[in-house]
Symmetry: C2
Subunit: 283 residues, 2 copies
């Protein structure tokens, strides 16, 4: 496993970690100044800004873009809505290319409104990703399917385990073109009894496109916005990173913390300094 001490160049900050409280230009500045090697911005920040200028600033700052967050939900109640969702993702993929993003993060979407058809939603996800693959190749930006924690199966993502994400990769890209893979997020996957096996498989298939870290708080108070800073929770983060790197992952380690009542209330530079310290000592 790589030693992260003194290697913040191997670490990236997902802008959600700072709570999206400031303009993207200032966020880029802070992250670069703190010494990180990468950034993962969100569409909400990019689509409301001058994307060419943002791309230039990121490049000038020497930051890699470890991912562009994130896909429009795919499952839909009607074919027209489904196609619109796919098209929205095509547009976002072009922006991801402009940003020179290493991947486009696919949070696949939950059940369509009023629907109880989980297998149907999962089929739509596979179909939608298959439809996006050509655009991904044209743009030179791989699709990173991010399995989300099962507690989000209803409303955010019907892809809930790494093995399931890998099965979708195989279904849409049997030839393994490099344009569809997975984003492994410690928060979403840490509990999975089949995780070690799935990480090994993902590595052998060369599908690991991103690795996200944060921590699971034992007394989680909110299902969405109460993620922990690395070291404050129960995940054995060094063991997890070791398994991901042993499987061949050599990309950046990206911090992504949603924390409305704690970290999003704090000074952004303090948050970044804490991330830096924890990454180097506890991850």
């Amino acid at each position: 496993m790589r030693n992260l001490q003194g290697r913040l160049d191997l670490c990236s900050i997902n802008t959600a970690t700072l709570g999206h409280r400031e303009p993207i230009s200032l966020t880029i500045e802070r992250i670069a100044r703190a010494g990180f090697g990468g950034i993962a911005p969100w569409r909400r920040e990019i689509e409301s800004a001058d994307i060419a200028q943002v791309a230039r600033q990121i490049k000038t700052s020497g930051l890699a873009v470890t991912g562009y967050c994130r896909s429009t939900a795919l499952p839909a109640a009607t074919p027209a809505e489904f196609n619109a969702n796919v098209d929205a993702n095509r547009a976002a993929l072009r922006d991801a290319a402009t940003l020179n993003a290493q991947c486009f993060v696919m949070v696949t979407g939950g059940l369509a409104a009023q629907s109880r058809d989980l297998p149907g939603a999962r089929s739509q996800v596979t179909e939608g990703i298959a439809m996006l693959l050509e655009t991904a190749r044209d743009c030179g930006v791989p699709l990173a399917i991010e399995p989300l924690h099962p507690m989000y199966a209803a409303d955010r993502a019907v892809v809930n385990t790494l093995e399931q994400a890998l099965a979708i990769c195989r279904a849409v890209d049997a030839a393994n073109t490099g344009y569809v893979g997975v984003a492994i997020d410690a928060y979403h996957c840490w509990w999975d009894p089949a995780l070690a096996h799935a990480i090994g498989t993902a590595g052998r298939e060369k599908r690991i496109l991103a690795y996200h870290t944060c921590d699971w708080l034992r007394d989680t108070r909110d299902m969405l916005l109460d993620r922990g800073m690395m070291g404050d929770g129960v995940i054995d983060l060094p063991a997890l990173r070791q398994s991901v790197e042993t499987a061949g992952y050599d990309g950046l380690i990206e911090v992504e913390i949603f924390s409305a009542q704690n970290w999003w209330q704090r000074d952004p530079d303090h948050v970044l300094a804490t991330c830096a310290e924890r990454l180097q000592t506890l991850c």
Copy 2:
């Protein structure tokens, strides 16, 4: 699949559904009067009462005991604590026998205090269940391992998928004596992409000891106490029961709803009437 219309004798009420607001004697009375065929009481109700009298009342009421809730958490920081946990479960198993319970529900426990050792906790669970098997056989009460939703992996149960529970069954009881199996709860398992396969396996191995129902609310507000009444959420309950019964399960359908802000605020007889109606029409 069995038709539940007019067949409340095939349905059971877990007493948690009524919020544990009344003495167990009154709860038994209400559940029997509403026409249900079974009850699943909790240790908190039984251990504070005259258990022989409770057992007599349940028997006289004609109710089956579809499960006794629930095991003391197994994972522990010290061997002494671990052995105390196992012993507490032995005592509870004897009470389960007195109650003539069809199974003892094993909610296995989360990580030990201050621990990040998930594989270690899982090993302790397997070890503890192996140690309890003889007592279960002596008492004539099978152990029903209940995989809990992954959002409880830290604090409530490190067994989080049906396949994982089945693997423990095989590890401790390769001979398949009938004294260790699984409790399948719709709330905990509905999201699992491998569920249909695991239910089939569980059926072939004759390990399905209980089936619990309720619903997952799309806008769940609390990770523990916001379960939905059947029909109010997103789970395809008829499809799930069909798969469980196709796999050979012919026991009762047990309703278990934790709902602090909604159903626990309502009149118990109204809650039972609602359960009865939903069971017969939507499950």
